[in-house]
């Protein structure tokens, strides 16, 4: 089937099998920062923004993204500048192995779009669909709140 979509600002057109998972399609375009952790929509490593909404792409078909605009971790950096969420994850040690990080940052970026000053509970609830096995989440929460500060300062 033919699909047309935009990934990180680049328009794409591709012939895909109806059964192809969106995460596999995204990775096949060289955007390998989108990871596969569980295959069951449980861990969120495959999260990307679909028209601005965080979606887990391991249980979406590529054809469901037809006509959509996607942002993956590779699209967070704009005009050579890191997104505040990226800066904050490094500054607050919000990552260790880095495998959950792209999905975690995209979910958080979407939260901050809606609420640039989230409480700790707001953050914990927002990222509760993204599993991290390394950090214990404390520094991820701090990173998201710090990113909110950076966004509010600008």
């Amino acid at each position: 089937m033919q699909i047309n979509l935009t990934i990180n600002g680049a328009e794409q057109s591709a012939e895909v099998e109806p059964r192809q998972l969106l995460v596999d399609y995204i990775r096949s375009t060289g955007n390998t920062g989108t990871h596969i952790g569980c295959d069951t929509t449980s861990c969120g490593a495959c999260t990307v923004l679909v028209d601005g909404t965080p979606m887990k792409t391991c249980t979406m078909f590529a054809v469901q993204a037809n006509g959509k605009t996607l942002t993956t971790v590779e699209g967070l950096k704009q005009n050579g500048e890191l997104h505040p969420i990226q800066t904050a994850f490094k500054e607050k040690h919000g990552l260790q192995c880095g495998f959950c990080t792209p999905g975690m940052m995209l979910t958080s970026a979407a939260l901050l779009e809606q609420n640039p000053d989230p409480s700790e509970d707001d953050v914990r609830w927002a990222i509760s669909g993204n599993i991290c096995r390394c950090t214990g989440y404390v520094n991820i929460v701090k990173a998201v709140q710090h990113a909110g500060e950076l966004i509010r300062e600008n």
Binding site: H35, Q96, G98, N130, G136, I140
Partner: protein
Amino acid sequence: MTTTADQVGHLHTPPEIGGIGHSVRRHEDDRFIQGAGNYVDDIELPGMLHMAILRSPVAHAKILSIDTSEATALEGVVAVVTGELMAEHNLAWMPTLSGDTQAVLATDKVRFQGQEVAAVIATHPYIARDALGLIFVDYEELPAITSPQQAMADGAVLIRDDKEGQADNLAYEWESGDKDVTDRAFAEADKIVSLETHYPRSHPSPLETCGAVADVDPASGQVTIYMTSQAPHAHRTVFALVAGLPEQNIRIISPDIGGGFGNKVPVYPGYVIATAASLLIGKPVKWVESRTENLISTGFARDYHMKGELALNSEGRILALRTEILSDQGAFFADAQPTKFKAGLFHIVTGSYDYPAAHVVARGAYTNKAPGGVAYRCSFRVTEASYMIERLVQNAAYDIGMDPAEFRALNFIKPEQFPYHSPTGFVYDSGDYETAMRKALGIVDYEALRKEQAEARAEGRLIGIGMASFTEVVGAGNSKDYDILGLKMFDSAELRVHPTGKAILKLGVKSQGQGHETTFAQIVAEELGIPAGDIKVLEGDTDNTPYGLGTYASRSTPVAGAATAMISRTLREKARKIAAHLLEASADDLDWEPGKFFVKGSPEQSVTIQDVAFAAYTNPPPDEQPGLEGVHYYDPPNMTYPFGTYVVVVEVDAETGEWNVDRMIAVDDCGVRINPMIVDGQIMGGLTEGFAAATNQFITFDDEGNCIGSNFMDYLVPTAWETPRFELDETVTPSPHHPIGAKGVGESATVGSPAAYVNAVIDALAHLGVRNIDMPLLPDRVWSAIQNATG
């Protein structure tokens, strides 16, 4: 080799150098935050094929036949590999890191659900999976053994009939300590306290599953295997031994690893099959397992059935410990244990306490479950040991009528007793247990909290205060005692200082998120004064790093960190001679401060380490070899013994059995902290693992051996929502034998915290007489315990 007191709490380098004690932001993060990490599944090679593995749906069965004809005929399928084909190349079985054997692809029987039966290699991963459905296997089912008690019962069906001389399901038997002395102490005891509990089966489940890309070049015979390996050098040697390949032609590359926690220490059949397939086909073959495959077939952890007893005198002094373990090993004994220690370092079970006698008996049984018993974020079964003693000690305090904290204080090994010889043969290097405990109790205001608890009880509310004052033994290890399959557990560091004063450090260990690219650069920065940001750390490529046993058992800092400090010091002494040459002074007349040599009494006469590095290549002294490079292999004189006290405060709902963590205080002593930010990160991750073990994270099997917990909807790992908040603090007792006084910290919290959470719930119910609830403390188990206690 000694650590001076001024290494504690003082920074020797300014932030721009970023030596020990600075919370340097991590160098590796730049690629991870941009999605530019390079994990095994990100590797694409020209002409690469994809492999999928057919796994047994049943736990125990004879294989009568395997029909691969339809699968082979599917368009896009390049090959179907069975055990029969592997056997033709003598690869149907492989050794485990504990000296047992494990089936690569089943030939005779399947012995656990999820065991590897056949593999398909195809042009696309979807086609490979499609073809699995076209392989027809005829099984004759056998009774499944799903517990070690069942395995050891008379008449139990023999699981390992493949092993010559194996007459029962005993995988190993091992003991430590002195039985007679211990029994005498028990005979003289005023009181004996006992505990029988199960540390349930768990799985490390790093977020990245296991996988490999095997690339065999048929022309040159070069074998390159990209692999999710915590121990690439050891794995290279195992591959050479298993496959009979010349070791110089094998290159293992561990790229970025998405978490390991012990899961990526063993050699898995998938790695071997992918390599064999690449060898046979002559093209690269990628295999990446699914989450379910990861959970049902790769190294599980724990599953220890433990009985423990403490002998006490009337004053509350511990006289002796005895404990008996029955471990569920699954179908193959595939731990990665040092050869001498079949039950790992479980004999650290005597804990932080001083008594003369202990006796440990450990037996492992084969069952029809996945193999493993890996040290999940833990140094060889230390988690199980710490859990046993800290639960026992807390119960002993209740039974003898003492406060659990004061009972611990009475029995702690005292600071002046170090080095302390334990009754099971360890020599604890250093410790100050009471100081750490008092600090934790101070943070939580223990006395006020006990009053609050009493008042709450009067109102019918159940508050519990749990503690664990754990001791770990990590950093394996000195070559006299520690080896894996005969490979001594040293580690190595190669340091090359380039002419412009920048450096590259190459290590035999392999980070899986611990931040080695930053912390090891900081050790060099401390010793040589080269800014940490000017030092690249390279790991995980066996062609380009010196030999080492890898990263697990909290051994990277104790062993490779020591090697890094030592080679830095060697190069500093060479640098001193070059500096003397440049300053036209005697080397003995030079003083050093990080980054600079200067003439004693004339600080204006100085050269920087960068000047020296340049001269090493452009103007070396006539009597010195040019260059500023070297390698150091470090065989540690002893293990290191991190410790600490964790205090957990919970409230239990008597009506539902639910419980909530109100506070979690962690005071850790891991010796000198290289990067405090990273240390705290490691501890918080471990506290979460402990919480997981105490609350929800476990794997069970039904009577037929079906794995319950085979995906993240059934195997419940904590999310941000239920994970508690943590309050961290520290004491610093440097390791006296480690060059920089560090002890390792990646596992302390996983080891120490489960008992603290469980003790807190038990403490809330102790007045009812409750002394044990097996983990995980699910609400129904807690509720039942309350019901049983209150009638």
